[in-house]
């Protein structure tokens, strides 16, 4: 179990773990690339700017697709789409998960039982296939997908929060706050939540990696938001030209793998930072 390490120490500890350092660099690099995406290559990834199916050249470092659209621009914008979705879903799942988990641990009894049954049920629902069904019936859209992934991804966080909160509830500093006359909500907000943050962040970053994979898979099946470029859409488009244009498949997929790897490493690094036992 993670020890209780002051939050200010976490940054330093992540940097000390090899996985954490790699994760910070990789995720940070992709984020930076995604943020400047609008200024990389031709600004509109849907615009035809060169000859179709051109192999990587100096002016189009990742080549062009069948309609002469610049792939570097597509990959940069697609990475931004993936990361924006991952951030939105992470914030929503974080809020739902922490609320459910903290409530279950704090109230205990029937409410705890009820919330845990719901948690177990949501955990069973295969979220990729639910997303396929909902998008097929309701139509595509990034906001819809974000909402759907948020309401199906929180159980993992809720369980971690509940377990942590249950053990925090009994610790001396919480007892002390109670002895000083602090009420339940105040203790929860001021004493318990700040200590929950690090373990929640581990789960959130691993879940964000899963979200990116799910979105990529959905767009690969042609279920992505038609108004934004996504990496899965690029990979789907590449499938028809595998034999003639390897670059169309290679770069979008590599970007997905890099984003997922970065977030997984970040999660590992956080975990290392919290688990002094495994420090190398």
């Amino acid at each position: 179990m993670p020890g209780w390490i002051p939050a200010s120490d976490i940054n330093r500890r992540i940097w000390r773990s090899r996985a954490g350092r790699a994760g910070v660099l990789l995720t940070g690099g992709l984020l930076a690339a995604a943020l400047v995406a609008a200024h990389v290559g031709p600004p509109d990834p849907f615009a035809s700017v060169g000859p179709p199916l051109s192999a990587p050249t100096l002016s189009h470092p990742m080549g062009t697709d069948d309609l002469g659209r610049d792939l570097l621009s597509g990959v940069a914008h697609g990475t931004r789409t993936s990361l924006v979705l991952a951030v939105i879903v992470s914030m929503l799942t974080g809020i739902i998960g922490v609320m459910v988990g903290a409530l279950a641990a704090w109230e205990g009894g029937t409410l705890d039982d009820l919330l845990m049954r719901v948690t177990e049920f949501v955990q069973v629902v295969p979220r990729f296939f639910l997303a396929v069904l909902v998008i097929a019936l309701f139509g595509p859209g990034l906001e819809r997908l974000a909402l759907l992934l948020a309401v199906t991804s929180w159980p993992w966080i809720a369980r971690v929060v509940r377990a942590e909160a249950l053990s925090l509830k009994r610790r001396e500093f919480v007892e002390a706050a109670r002895a000083l006359g602090a009420g339940g909500p105040r203790i929860l907000l001021r004493e318990v939540l700040p200590n929950l943050l690090p373990p929640v962040l581990v789960v959130v970053s691993l879940n964000a990696a899963g979200v990116i994979l799910i979105e990529a898979g959905l767009s690969f099946l042609g279920l992505g938001d038609p108004d934004v470029v996504s990496l899965g859409y690029l990979a789907n488009n590449a499938q028809r030209f595998l034999r003639v244009a390897w670059w169309m498949a290679a770069f979008p997929g590599a970007a997905i793998a890099a984003a997922v790897l970065g977030l997984n490493l970040l999660g590992d690094g956080l975990n290392d930072a919290l688990n002094p036992r495994f420090e190398s």
Binding site: V124, V125, P126, F138, G222, L223, A235, A250, G253
Partner: protein
Amino acid sequence: MPSRYLLRRLAQVLPTVAGLLVLNFCIVHLAPGDPVIALGGEHGDAAYYAFLRARFALDRPLPEQLLTYVTNVLRGDLGTSFVHGRSVAGVIAERLPATILLVATALVLSSLAGLGLGTLAARHGRRPADLALNAAALLGYATPSFWLGQMALLTVAVGTGLFPVQGMTDARHPQTGLAHVLDVAHHLALPALVLAVNELALTTRLVRTGLLEALGADYVRTARAKGLPEGRVIRHALRNVMLPVLTVIGSRAGMFLSGAVLVEVVFAWPGLGRLLLSSLLARDYPVLLGMFLLISFAVVLANLITDLAYARLDPRIRYQ
């Protein structure tokens, strides 16, 4: 295994299955437009829709509709695919064996190889071999299966010509008997390998971490002190390491199936993935609903099997 644990665990399945049925029902009714479109697809005529309305009691109050829906599903009646002109259950059942073959092969492959590689890495703790395996596992776990499939097609299948590019059999040379089995195995090899990579990477990491921890435990020191050969000691420790590995693999059934579907699309493997794609393109909603239900039930079943296997491995669970 004591039947009390089995019964208690089986009893937990019922509310889950009921919940999944209600969820499916809600999706049908929340979808924009008439629920009959979701149940019959967009290609039906007035007479067909009237027939469906009667069969699903769509002009009755909601609770009655739910009851009719649940009864129909439990009887194995998932509706009719207007595109295929046959029952949804029949259409899905036809595609199921190919997917099961692919998924089972990949799972056996990833579990056995993961166990071996994880043990190898742990025994080489923190030396180059371990570090290389660990890095490869991290990379393998992060790679989307459909991209890996595309790259495998590009390099191995198209590049070297050692493996067929698409499908499950060679349509130009239909085979029978043993030749047919070999033909299928030849087509199966690449997609199964690709699908196995994510799970293999995860299993390797879990076995490595678990074994590294277990090899420092007191019971392992005791086993060594008694003079047991290293192979026996490892086997002893692996039994404990298997528990978390089993839980993680079991809990990823949904994830694994989504990977299978995508790999099938890349390799044109004639299973559920191809059916999913063609049903999406044809807006064949009954098939999509049926597949979602089937896959959710498969996940419930996978969790049940995982828990029962866990109870077999860990006596503490059985006698709780």
